[in-house]
């Protein structure tokens, strides 16, 4: 158990430290591709600090849902952080790592965030909640089948076991590479990025996630922002440790091994975040009702993976 507690503390610290950095990095990359200078890499940290220092404004229409939603959101993100090994795998992880539970813990945060969107009675919030829940219902079968395909390939539903198996290299799991595309689509969806949503705008026609948290302010907004950043980092972590396991789970002594793993993870994460920036800059946002086609593509690729595993 003490091994797991050490793992939990390290994981949470890594998540809190790196999550805002990658948000900035994506912005920086987009700015670079647009020929702008862009904000500094530490801008996300400054913004969060600023939000924590601002007063909170609640709507007079709102109830306790709006007050607890940010906390539930961040709690769900941090509990989920204990399910995704980022640097190493502890010896004892009993009770954690079930991938279905991971998805549903993230869904709890989303559920309360959507309720929070309806709470203030603003049309923007309602629109954001409605679209967010529609998109999340569309993407849910894709995510489940994608995770079922991963679980099927590795014969396990525990993320710790899956990633331990993957850390030996994907040599025996060639079909898994097909899942990279659906995983990236799910990453873009869950973190509300182009082509699904546009995190930059506050335009009624395009925003989904931003509309939902429009009425939130001050520390509550900061908590919600951290929660989304953590969610992004966790999904990135799954992709990184599944497909680029170099440096992950090194069997080296305590401080050195962790530091090397951290360095490796930070670099790989920076690479992936930059790629997200490139993707966001090179495609246009899709119409809401075109999204099912995009999800159908990732659904198809997951099913093909399962078929390859079943038939070959």
């Amino acid at each position: 158990m003490s091994g797991f507690i050490a793992f939990a503390i390290i994981n949470v610290v890594v998540v809190m430290a790196l999550a805002p950095l990658y948000i900035s990095l994506v912005k920086k990359m987009k700015a670079f591709l647009q020929g702008r200078k862009g904000p500094g890499l530490l801008q996300a940290y400054y913004s969060l600090w600023k939000l924590f220092k601002k007063e909170v404004v609640y709507s007079s229409n709102s109830s306790f849902i709006m007050r607890v939603a940010p906390y539930i959101s961040i709690i769900s993100a941090l509990v989920a952080a204990l399910f995704v090994p980022l640097l190493f795998i502890p010896d004892d992880y009993s009770g954690f790592g079930n991938i279905i539970l991971l998805l549903y813990i993230l869904a709890v945060g989303k559920f309360f965030m959507a309720l929070g969107g309806l709470d203030a009675g603003s049309a923007f919030g309602g629109m954001g909640s409605s679209r967010e829940m529609s998109i999340s219902s569309m993407v849910e079968p894709v995510v489940i089948v994608l995770f079922a395909a991963i679980a099927f390939v590795f014969r396990s539903t525990n993320l710790f076991e899956i990633l331990r198996e993957a850390s030996h290299g994907l040599g025996g799991y060639a079909s898994l590479w097909l899942l990279l595309i659906p995983l990236v689509i799910v990453l873009l969806t869950e973190t509300a990025r182009i082509p699904i949503d546009n995190p930059e705008t506050h335009l009624e026609l395009t925003m989904v996630h931003e509309a939902m948290i429009l009425e939130q302010s001050g520390r509550n907004l900061a908590l919600l922002e951290i929660a989304s950043a953590i969610k992004q980092l966790l999904l990135m972590g799954i992709i990184i440790n599944l497909f680029m396991p170099m440096g992950f789970n090194l069997q080296v002594l305590f401080p050195a091994g962790i530091l090397i793993a951290f360095g490796a993870f930070a670099i790989k994460g920076a690479f992936l975040a930059a790629s997200i920036g490139v993707i966001e800059s090179s495609v246009a946002k899709l119409r809401l009702f075109r999204l099912p086609n995009l999800f159908a593509l990732s659904f198809f690729l997951s099913v093909v993976t399962i078929m390859m595993e079943v038939l070959l």
Partner: protein
């Protein structure tokens, strides 16, 4: 001892029902409280006898003398489990009714409702405990008829009468199929006892299976036999909806599980049939629920969805046992049974709190509600617990049973047939879609009913319901939380008894971790952040004061999903416009219409009705011909045929 508990429970319910009928015109609410106390006590006794069987593990076999008839009963673990569900839900519904019943209408109606409620609970318990097919049928009919009376409590309304007739026809149809199946069993197996069904020829076994599936499927509300549910539930008083949706359709599930376990040499296609029935009920149930704005009808469609989920579990059980994977099959069966219990709890909870809301706002239309969080905080919190549970979010109980089903689906790789594996993965994706849509639907239901500003005068004036109504719901809510958080510990015990191991995550540990993280975050945020709080208007795009007409509506909320699934709803949007000028700029007049095609009524129910109407009008013509000749001719032909038949048969 458990036998005595059960018998005295039956006795108490009989007394309660009899007394309530005798004192039909009694005005004092104290006397009604006594009737309800009898029902509560009976439910506690049923619960006690069920728990002693479940924990002790010994099946009971005994008989009751009901007006000179000897009724053999036997309670094994399966029956005890369902009796436990009936006891639990009956208990909390009876407590809720302590204050609800006073709002029902005239004195006669109140007392009659209590009397029928006692008969209804009694008949459900006896169906489950029946040892004989005949007893099963008799109590099944008693259950149907007492629930019909309960649906018809508000018989003055045209809508209620229509719902009652629809329900009556469907429920009798279900009995017809059951009688057919039981007759076949008796003919070929030669026994009326439920414990042994052997010696059925393969064809007859399949016939029995299909008619049982139809009979129980109609009663359970599986699509396409679901139409009575969304009619009957909004029409009946809320405690009755809770009983019907929470328990009565579970009795049909009991029937399916019981007879599927009994029937010998099962075929592969039986399991596939149940799986298809389950998947389509689950998906279509939730898709129809999304477009519903009548709160109780919305919940009724969710019952169809959850019956579908339970049927998926049963279908998976049959498939995996056919492919000789007993461990996974048992996991699927336990998932189905656990979901039965969970659905009974959270759906009764939701129906009861919906009842409080409907009573407080005098409308079932959620577009006229809103802002009830401030006026009815307890009801809101209880509804929220039910909503989280039905949306399958951890750590509540609804999540655990769906997680078990996901685990069964994820292990479909062990099946030897690749085709079947792919079919199961496809069913998995539909199942996942169902659970995500349910979450979307309950964000809509909770958000529109309880959050933001009230959308009507009635919603503004709503008052919190009485303590008995809150307590009845609170029991169910506590159970929803407890069964979820302690699921790991519970299933460790169950696994030891049943001899299988459940690979469930320890939700107690996860919840404790979440609480710890929450406490740390809360303290840290308080430490570093600005604590000033300001209350202000919601930004209304520059309009000085916001009103409820600017809020998002339920139709608006579900519109994106409705548009994506428009091919399933078969909605037709007609939009005709005419203009004053040629450039279509100056609007003259227009006409917009949304047509909803009632798919199952158009293509399944009405053709049957038309066929029957055609036949009956034909017979009517034959019978009412004025001339004597056709009569004589038909009698002559009939006698001739009878003579010929007898002549052949005797030889």
């Amino acid at each position: 001892m458990p036998t005595l508990f059960f018998q005295s429970g039956v006795g108490l319910l009989l007394i309660a029902s009899f007394l309530a009928l005798v004192f039909l015109h009694v005005k004092q609410s104290r006397i009604r409280k006594c009737f309800l106390a009898l029902i509560i006590l009976a439910c506690v006794l049923f619960l006690a006898s069920s728990l002693s069987v479940l924990l002790g593990g010994d099946a009971l076999a005994f008989y009751l003398m009901l007006s000179g008839l000897r009724v053999s009963l036997s309670i094994d673990v399966l029956a005890a489990f369902f009796i436990g569900i009936i006891g639990l839900v009956g208990l909390s519904v009876a407590i809720y009714s302590l204050s609800y019943v006073e709002h029902v209408g005239s004195e006669r109606k109140k007392n009659f409702m209590l009397s029928m409620m006692a008969v209804f609970i009694l008949s459900m318990v006896l169906v489950v405990a029946s040892h004989h097919l005949l007893g099963f049928l008799v109590f099944w009919e008693l259950m149907s008829i007492s629930s019909l009376f309960l649906v018809l409590i508000d018989f003055e309304k045209e809508e209620t009468r229509k719902a009652g007739i629809f329900y009556f026809v469907m429920t009798q149809l279900s009995t017809v199929f059951l009688i057919f199946a039981f007759a076949l069993i008796y003919n070929h197996a030669g026994t009326l006892e439920i414990i042994t069904i052997r010696g059925l020829p393969p064809f007859i076994a399949s016939l029995v299976f299909v008619s049982l599936a139809l009979g129980f499927g109609i009663k359970a509300g599986a699509i396409p036999f679901h139409k009575w549910l969304p009619y009957a539930h909004p029409a009946s008083p809320s405690p009755i909806s809770a009983l019907m949706s929470g328990v009565m359709i579970k009795v049909a599930i009991y029937g399916i599980v019981r007879f599927i376990l009994l029937l010998p040499d099962k075929k592969l296609w039986w399991g596939i049939l149940i799986l298809i029935l389950g998947t389509s009920s689950a998906l279509l149930g939730v898709i129809y629920a999304l477009k519903e704005h009548d709160l109780k009808r919305l919940l009724a469609y969710h019952s169809i969805e959850n019956i579908g989920i339970i049927l998926i579990g049963i279908g998976l059980y049959m498939l995996f046992s056919w492919y000789s994977q007993p461990a996974i099959a048992l996991l699927a069966l336990f998932a189905a049974l656990f979901h039965t219990l969970n659905h009974a709890l959270f759906k009764s909870l939701l129906f009861l709190s919906a009842g409080s809301v409907v009573h407080a706002t005098h409308t079932k239309n959620i577009e006229k509600m809103g802002g009830l969080m401030k006026t009815m905080p307890y009801t809101a919190a209880l509804f929220l617990i039910g909503a989280i549970s039905i949306s399958a979010l951890p750590p509540l109980n609804g999540f655990v049973s769906e997680l078990m089903l996901f685990q069964v689906f994820f292990s479909s790789g062990v099946i030897a047939s690749p085709m079947m594996t792919l079919v199961l993965f496809f069913a998995l994706s539909l199942f996942a879609l169902t659970s995500a849509l349910a979450a979307a639907c309950f964000v809509k239901a909770f958000g529109i009913v309880f959050l933001a500003l009230p959308r009507s005068k009635e919603a503004e004036m709503a008052k919190e319901s009485g303590p008995a109504m809150i307590l009845g719901q609170a029991i169910l809510a506590v159970l929803c939380i407890g069964l979820g958080v302690f699921s790991f510990q519970i299933f460790q015990q169950v696994g030891q008894k049943a001899g299988i191991s459940f690979d469930l995550p320890n939700l107690l540990l996860i919840s404790a971790t979440a609480v710890f993280i929450g406490a740390v975050i809360f303290i840290a945020v308080r430490g570093i952040s600005n604590r000033n709080v300001r209350i202000s208007e919601t930004w209304g795009c520059g309009i000085a004061s916001q009103n409820s007409r600017m809020e998002y509506t339920a139709s608006g909320f579900s519109d994106p999903i409705l548009t994506i699934f428009s091919s399933i709803y078969r909605t037709k949007k007609i939009n005709r416009r005419s203009f004053h000028d040629h450039d279509s700029a100056v609007f003259k007049e227009g006409h917009a219409e949304v047509l909803l095609l009632r798919f199952f009524e158009e293509y399944l129910y009405l053709p049957v009705v038309r066929l029957i109407r055609f036949l009956s009008s034909f017979l009517y013509k034959v019978q009412n011909k004025v001339e004597l000749d056709p009569y004589l001719l038909s009698s002559f032909v009939a006698i001739l045929a009878l003579l010929l038949y007898l002549g052949v048969a005797i030889r």
